[in-house]
Symmetry: C2
Subunit: 458 residues, 2 copies
Amino acid sequence: MASHKILLTEDEMPRQWYNILADIKMNPPLGPDGNPVSPDQLAPVFPMNLIEQEVSQERWIDIPQEVMDIYTLWRPSPLVRATRLEKALGTPARIYFKNEGVSPAGSHKPNTAVPQAYYNKEFGIKKITTETGAGQWGSALSFACAQFGLQCTVYMVRISFDQKPYRKSMMGVWGGKCIASPSTLTKAGRDALERDPNTPGSLGIAISEAVEAAVSDETGETRYSLGSVLNHVMLHQTVIGLEAKKQLEKVGEYPDIVIGCAGGGSNFAGLAFPFAQDKINGKQLEIYPVEPAACPTLTKAPFVYDHGDVAGYTPLLPMHSLGHAFVPAPIHAGGLRYHGMAPTVSQLVDEGLMDAKSVNQLDCYEAGLIFARSEGHIPAPETTHAIAQVIKEANKAKEEGKEKVILFNWSGHGALDLGAYEKYLAGELHNFELTDAEMNEAMEIFKNYPKPEHLKSR
Amino acid sequence: MASHKILLTEDEMPRQWYNILADIKMNPPLGPDGNPVSPDQLAPVFPMNLIEQEVSQERWIDIPQEVMDIYTLWRPSPLVRATRLEKALGTPARIYFKNEGVSPAGSHKPNTAVPQAYYNKEFGIKKITTETGAGQWGSALSFACAQFGLQCTVYMVRISFDQKPYRKSMMGVWGGKCIASPSTLTKAGRDALERDPNTPGSLGIAISEAVEAAVSDETGETRYSLGSVLNHVMLHQTVIGLEAKKQLEKVGEYPDIVIGCAGGGSNFAGLAFPFAQDKINGKQLEIYPVEPAACPTLTKAPFVYDHGDVAGYTPLLPMHSLGHAFVPAPIHAGGLRYHGMAPTVSQLVDEGLMDAKSVNQLDCYEAGLIFARSEGHIPAPETTHAIAQVIKEANKAKEEGKEKVILFNWSGHGALDLGAYEKYLAGELHNFELTDAEMNEAMEIFKNYPKPEHLKSR
């Protein structure tokens, strides 16, 4: 019988995360004064143990036993050979995917939520604040905080709070407190409400509220947490790729192409970085981050210094960015609607070690249906971006008659996104593509910003 | 490291289902004339290969290779040691659960949907009709039909169709056609609409519509499918218990108590029957089907002959029943709101081989929260009934200082039931318990019905 799933035992799980900072050169983040940010400047926002991890150059970092113990609630995740998808496409390619949808929150997000909660707890923190758009991250952090007895407060963008009540309920099940943003609890929130009492909110405002709530807690027992973009987040996610490598070894395979969807970059980096290390060391393979055509950070936007948030609270990060004032079109893959991209991913793309792709919304839902009807499991809208690219590559392999090995990250399930599929099936969705005029307008913001260097890691 | 998950490889999967009809004595189903029903009488409703399976006395029945191949999209499912739940309860009991929430539809239902679609396809059927209440079964059958290129039409109870759009969308993703019932497509539906144009519908009407749509298709290429109650459905589900047995053997364990929630009986039977076989053969263990106090089929209602549907289209089945006209209180565990119980489960309870329990709604949600906050994964409302009983038994083991081994079926995840949790957290849910007066009134229906014999299998 053809085996669909390649499993690891819990004893075979990686015991260390892979830190790509040991293998690449990076521009430093810059503070308000234009100089590199020091760890101390970040101390009111994050616990010092996570700040140390953010700047660490150690190649391998031990996964704490307490984190391992919680990881095993769903990890190691299955690596699956998508034989029924291959058959549906009639491709000679062998397609493998890492199923991160098996986590309690249904996506890869708990891979970093759990260690972040752990390190906060270790540092003596009692409460964590964060923001969430569609709710994936807020629910993952609520789950993680429940495991460590930490309080969790999530500022959720008002329009999502109203339109996606299930994610809010999920946070509640795990004891998380979900607050519609803008709220009256913070100055940032009150200012936003004064400007427009009926505002639908934005991720930018929600970040400002969450950061303000953390740094203004006078007990010093509250910190802020971010679910993507930062180095330590990418680090934690590498458990995905490290497991996948071991699983592929078991069946004597190595990927020709590694694919993941990319919003802030974390699920993509999690799968791809352990393979990127091989590429830095001379191995031949293709690595494709895939983003929406509506938010083409890597494929259209330049490598610049920009803020991670709309309000400009964060340091300037060296990254591909559409500008922190950019508002992406309302595609349903909420997790990919981010103006920037993780500095590590941006660096690797800038120096040509990865080749970014973009896909449009309708092709993504079509790909999602092809997948669901062949492999059964229904992917999240974000994940369909990876699948759309996989199908392109599988069809190319068919045309060329090549037995390529394609590996991709099935970053999450779509059970809470079925409304978007419903709209697609009813013909109510359409494509969005950024025009050159919109792009030029967005770029205005960078006129007086410092520019990062183009570095080479190999 | 304590291992949470006990895994089987795909090669270790059971290759046969266990048929409990080989080991117990059963009263026959009766036709309209009061005589045992012949297979021919069922031929317009089900394909003959499934009818043969329904009455087979073979102890072991081969699982077809095509079914195995689709099972491996999610099977073997993990057996999980709930160490974090044990710790939260401070119990010396060792608690194991079989995670059936990993299937594409999120529950155990595909275990029978896939073989039912397969046997229909083999028999030359092109289209399957069925009914669905909350939508679990309709979505599972849509998934299965997509795998075999069969058309699937699901009559969904109007009120659920309106209130639970996500399950309908899920069917659409897999190509299933979901119709609000009552519809104008069948005589049964038109009659119902004539009686009350604003009716919220009922499972009884939906069954009538689905059966009528199957038997009235003049091409002869349509059949009807049922997701619980019948012998062949229980048979297919035994893959759960057979896997669990192998998994427990790997860690040298055997359960003292086996627990599953029971509505029509299929997820419970799937886990319990392979262990019930051992008990029939003299092994000591407890087996508890758990039902809602609002619908106490096994714990309060008698063992009678009753119809499986409200309209009385089905043969009279020997089962515990509250009467086919009984309308259960609106608890949120839609899958447990059924007036009867699988004849096989009913027989085993009647002769004392299983000991039924009932739990109330609020205890169930409390149990669901305890589970979600310790083990992470959020259970379906149906599944929380099993968990509530598990927690009772674990606390009892603690009082008695006994190291009991408890095994239960985690029948499905609650991602599409988060609205019910939200209501629980907001204090909007309450308990329902059937009063003696309501019970007596319900029993009136059986006055002139034939009575099954009390048989003994050992």
